[in-house]
């Protein structure tokens, strides 16, 4: 039987809660435009996670976790050839390059980062395949879902608030026209600087997010901070189509206008009208039944049971 739907209707945190409580094993596959993720579970615990088009090999995971240098990563990629993650892990441990704990911690961190990206998805088709388990050659972990669910709920709430502030990512930024304001004098984090580098009316927020490898929540968070500081302003992307936000607003307004007004509903809500609807009820069933004692009521229920059985 299917466990599938859309995240719009059944959120990722609700799904994780379901997997957790039902101790499910299998793979959750979630897809949205140009993106796809696989998240594997074993007995209700996170075992493995990967995004489509992403290098999730152990060598790359360890490189991203700064356990391998760029040169080591390149060498492994060149020489390891068809070696599986498990074989590579054993090789690294046996050669005393790193401990098993280092490898597991790096993988856990990588899977959690993938999960954190998924937690910001408000929409996307999902399906749970209970007979699909992680690939045999991959190293799996066991991460309790409770903390991920709590973190996910927090992120969803934050994303909702940020979506109110920045409804569309198809809009661009420009530096605010404030004489005297110099961004070089402002203390920005590395992530903020990464975004600032791309600020131009030519680049939409979506493009900046892609270029800086940020998810929807992260880019909104950074842009919101820059907006709050008065350093940047929204601008329609040069040569781009009109942003989606006004269109959405307009379609909402249109649908509200085209929705049938209450007066057109087939059932008028005036008291007189309600009493007309109620009339047959009162005639047929709404008369309050006289109070019954327990034996009488039991007998009535048993008569109902016998009658329904006989139908």
């Amino acid at each position: 039987m299917a466990l599938k739907g859309n995240l719009r209707d059944f959120s990722i945190t609700q799904l994780l809660n379901l997997v957790n409580l039902a101790h499910k094993s299998g793979t959750l596959i979630v897809e949205r435009t140009n993106e796809k993720m696989w998240v594997c579970f074993r007995d209700g615990k996170l075992a493995y996670a990967q995004a489509a088009g992403e290098d999730a090999s152990l060598a790359t995971v360890l490189y991203k976790a700064k356990k391998l240098s760029a040169a080591q990563h390149r060498a492994i990629k060149e020489r390891a050839g068809p070696m599986s993650d498990k074989e590579l892990g054993l090789l690294l441990i046996n050669a005393s390059y790193m401990s098993q704990d280092d490898i597991i911690a790096s993988l856990q961190s990588f899977f959690l980062q993938t999960m954190n990206r998924l937690l910001t998805w408000a929409e996307g088709l999902f399906r749970f395949e209970s007979d699909l388990l992680p690939p045999d050659d991959k190293i799996t972990v066991r991460i309790n879902l409770e903390n991920i669910i709590i973190e996910g709920a927090r992120r969803m709430k934050e994303l909702e608030q940020l979506q109110d502030e920045i409804p569309s990512l198809d809009i661009a930024l420009k530096f605010a026209d404030r004489p005297g304001a110099n961004i070089r004098n402002v203390n920005l984090s590395v992530d903020e600087w990464q975004v600032v580098r791309y600020i131009s009316p030519k680049n939409s927020l979506r493009q900046i997010a892609r270029a800086t490898n940020k998810n929807d929540l992260e880019i909104r968070r950074i842009v919101y901070a820059l907006l709050q500081a008065g350093l940047v302003e929204f601008v329609r992307p040069t040569g781009a189509l009109p942003p989606r936000y006004p269109a959405v607003k307009q379609s909402r307004a249109t649908s509200a206008a085209s929705a049938p007004p209450q007066a057109q509903s087939p059932l008028p809500a005036s008291p007189q009208a309600q009493s007309r609807v109620l009339a047959p009820l009162q005639a047929q069933g709404r008369q309050p039944a006289p109070p019954m004692d327990k034996t009488e009521k039991k007998s009535l229920i048993n008569r109902l049971i016998n009658r329904i059985r006989s139908l």
């Binding site: 047959p280 039944a289 229920i301 109902l304």
Partner: protein, 179 residues
């Protein structure tokens, strides 16, 4: 003549009208209208006031089945229909997880109107994309004690089973309350 009633409730397009139609001895008195909203145009018409079915038990007793309108804008009918009910059935479409939250909300609303026994019917179990009953229980946040029953609303035996389980629950509650 004594009359008693049970209410069949649930979200839009959960199968309430079909449920009553499957077991009623009379043609269901249905107040259906054509759907006006594109969003809800998954079926041609919907119940706007109530459905009404009947089962004659014997010369002195009749059971009425009332189906509530599923659309939220007709929810003023719910309280009226719930008055004096023996118990109620919450119908849930097993293939539409987007309605689970609403089903939960309807259940809580009816519990607030009258703390009578109830069962939840997971309808459309014959569909390939139906969710597992155990998964639905978690998604609907149902207590393990609440009966969540598999159902295909146009199958009379299924409908009988749901009503019988509700009646058993009513008996059990009478025994546990000692009244």
């Amino acid at each position: 003549m004594q009359t008693v009633k049970m209410v069949v409730t649930g979200p839009f397009n959960a199968g309430k009208t079909e449920f009553i139609r499957s077991i009623s001895e009379i043609d269901v008195v249905s107040t259906e209208r054509k759907i006006s909203s594109d969003y809800e145009r998954v079926k041609e018409s919907t119940t706007v006031a109530m459905d009404f079915g009947r089962i004659t038990v014997d010369d002195d007793l009749v059971l009425y089945l009332f189906g509530t309108p599923g659309q939220k804008r007709f929810d003023f009918m719910w309280e009226i229909l719930s008055e004096g009910m023996l118990g109620f059935v919450v119908m849930v479409d097993s293939t539409r997880p987007e309605t689970f939250r609403e089903a939960r909300s309807i259940l809580e609303t009816f519990r607030a109107y009258a703390p009578t026994p109830y069962v939840v019917a997971a309808n459309k179990r014959d569909r390939e994309d139906a969710w597992e009953v155990d998964d639905m229980r978690i998604a609907l946040r149902l207590d393990p004690k609440v009966k969540l029953l598999s159902c295909v609303a146009n199958d009379k035996e299924n409908v009988k089973n749901v009503l019988l389980e509700l009646l058993y629950s009513i008996l059990a509650e009478m025994d546990s309350n000692g009244n």
